[in-house]
Symmetry: C2
Subunit: 462 residues, 2 copies
Amino acid sequence: MRQPMISLALLGLLAATTGQAQTASPAGRIETAAKLRDAALADNKAWALLSDLTDTVGPRLAASEAEARGRVWAKTALQKLGFVNIREEAFPMTAWERGTASASIVGSNHALAITALGTSGATPKGGLTAPVSCFDNLAAMRAAPVSEVKGRIVFIDHRMTITQDGSSYGVNGGVRRIGPALAAQKGAAAVMIRSLATDYHRNPHTGSTGFPAGVTPIPAVALALPDAELLARRCAAGPVTVQLISTPVSKPGQSANVSAEIPGTVPGEIVVLGGHLDSWDLGHGVFDDGAGVAITMAAAAAIKSHVDRTGQAPRRTIRIVLWGAEEFGVIGGRAYAAAHAAENIVLAGESDAGADRIYNVGSRVAETGLPLFGEIGALLAPLGVQPDSSNKSGGGADVGPLAALGAGVLDLGQDMTRYFDVHHTPDDTLDKVDRKQLDQNVAAWTAAIWLAATDDRPLRTK
Amino acid sequence: MRQPMISLALLGLLAATTGQAQTASPAGRIETAAKLRDAALADNKAWALLSDLTDTVGPRLAASEAEARGRVWAKTALQKLGFVNIREEAFPMTAWERGTASASIVGSNHALAITALGTSGATPKGGLTAPVSCFDNLAAMRAAPVSEVKGRIVFIDHRMTITQDGSSYGVNGGVRRIGPALAAQKGAAAVMIRSLATDYHRNPHTGSTGFPAGVTPIPAVALALPDAELLARRCAAGPVTVQLISTPVSKPGQSANVSAEIPGTVPGEIVVLGGHLDSWDLGHGVFDDGAGVAITMAAAAAIKSHVDRTGQAPRRTIRIVLWGAEEFGVIGGRAYAAAHAAENIVLAGESDAGADRIYNVGSRVAETGLPLFGEIGALLAPLGVQPDSSNKSGGGADVGPLAALGAGVLDLGQDMTRYFDVHHTPDDTLDKVDRKQLDQNVAAWTAAIWLAATDDRPLRTK
């Protein structure tokens, strides 16, 4: 069904004037999705949102004053875009601040490029100097006797590789997530890991680690790859001693999630999309995850604009959620799912994998929802997006807790080939964004969310 | 003329045993150059030298204790390689030390990635805070009235571009070399320049600036490109104030040049090759200029090894010179030329453009020397090297003062396409080196120097 643009616009004007939203025609939803998709490709709203957020607010460390300013920015922007039911829902957390970190190889002129890992502990006042035990990977450190770890600075040169789907981060992430705690349990004085990263710049990659109850956090830092390889070469040449200073502090704090809606015509069914507002403090939080915030806001805004213009509202409520404190262990995502467990969130998806193009689309939905994903796949194919028909997709870290409660999952897979070059580093800045790929993202999200919100087939897995 | 390797080796053994060096046969010099070239391609001596220098000594700031350790490293290595007449020739200079530098956009969460420029002054204790005057380029700052500069922090967003021959650095270098002094003369409080660079990492590029007599050095720093572009965007959006801290200090100091020789059979004609031992303090001094040191040492070592093996010495003395304090205005190169003005240095060339491949070969020699460059061109063509027949080449910064006194110039032009990505930054580390290209360099230098040293045609321009 094709209608001349003018009559659609006229129809919209009439509907908007009378203030009566109509449910978008089921018959026309595919055609409308295609039009919204193509219009989004030519719009540049995500760029404007992303540059404004990251230039004016900058880095947005969880529980910081800057993250709070990010929420003010988000609520203001959401209001300007015409969304309703704008909410901010606070939750408590431990606020961690980096302080300063420096390290040098004793007896050399080599300062090492390091950065502290989130939740890690501080060195004694004045730093600590200790012999280094070098391990090629996490397994070697796990297998090492206590005598090789106790009182030492443990260096784990565990490598990740480039993968388009980012899976290498999951496979190798243990070195950062549990490596420091395992070393602490063997009595290590401190831990240095090769950054979980794929670039060779002197910008170390931060990220959270964790210490289970009863294990006192020890200093834990990541080395830039050139520095990790230098340290590995010095280890191979003979005994190495490192002086390390790291001064993070932890204290009680608070973060919050922000949400807003395009109301559906049939109450009680909600489609969630969003990104996380917090970022690491080193870069400007562009790829991680200003882009996700901007992409999903721009996609929802394109739909809102269509609704306003035509009076054709989706059946299901579209809710944009901008989570807080993702970087410290999906704290916002967990808080959100807990607070909204009683709601009928039928589908949820998060954009949190940079600003590069969508290359596949996956799901985790009830069997009744698979035809919808057939439609989405067909609509996104012209964007170069291929289907992942496993129906086992994750949908993003903050979506995990919702999915665990039964929400269906929409997973728009981004090309992560260069994601771990800039992820969690000072290098996560606006210049890295390819604006054509950013727009392709918005187009994919717009079409997929429109199709899901105008559909009525059950999607929840439980 | 081809001889079986075994008889050459035997001949060398005999000559070495008797201790009588013979002048290499003029007839065989082309064939020998080809053999030395091909052997160097398969050798990896430069890598061993480069990694040893940069891993064990690290950064080698001019006039620092680390630069002095670089000289100890060099003399030890030159001795091990069998060179003779190893010399260290000291010269005085002003030693400049960086201190710390930080900057932030007032009223934002943006810390700017900056580094102080060599010879620049310090901010007042506690830093300085001032409105920023933003200029697109050096010409705009030059044209600005004093009222737009006086008491301000002057930001000059002057751009360079990628050029294979590195010429963009010369064309645009004025922003760093004279920009701060020009702004100081108009009463600027401080200067921030966009790094003279081609990469988009948060690693600012240092380098020297200069202040003429009577102009008090003011604080002058370079911004990483992502930060320069952020600042330019903030300038475009409205008034910007920056807080700047930079704490360099200057004091009297000393550097030195190191040299060593392969004696020629005919006294009084010298061919000079080398690189500079000093580096900036931010990286490890690999591309700039550990590579030049290693490449020319490896090339001379290949020739030394041939001489030892065959007893066939070159007519002309081959002298490797490792200059000090190049980065602060060719101080070592000037001192060297002044101290050796009476010598008959017939040809000189410096390797100081990274570790990537040689792509062209140029000269500045007397007309009688052009046939030699025809031979060199023919020998290097199989390495993918093309002739630059302008006979107006420069030969490297430290060679300039020798050439001004009449020394002929050998210029082996390196591919500098990615040189200004790592030049003068923390990113100048060993991982950037492509070992095949490094070996190609050594092969080109070995063949060219062998041909020049076994030749007898006049090369000096005066």
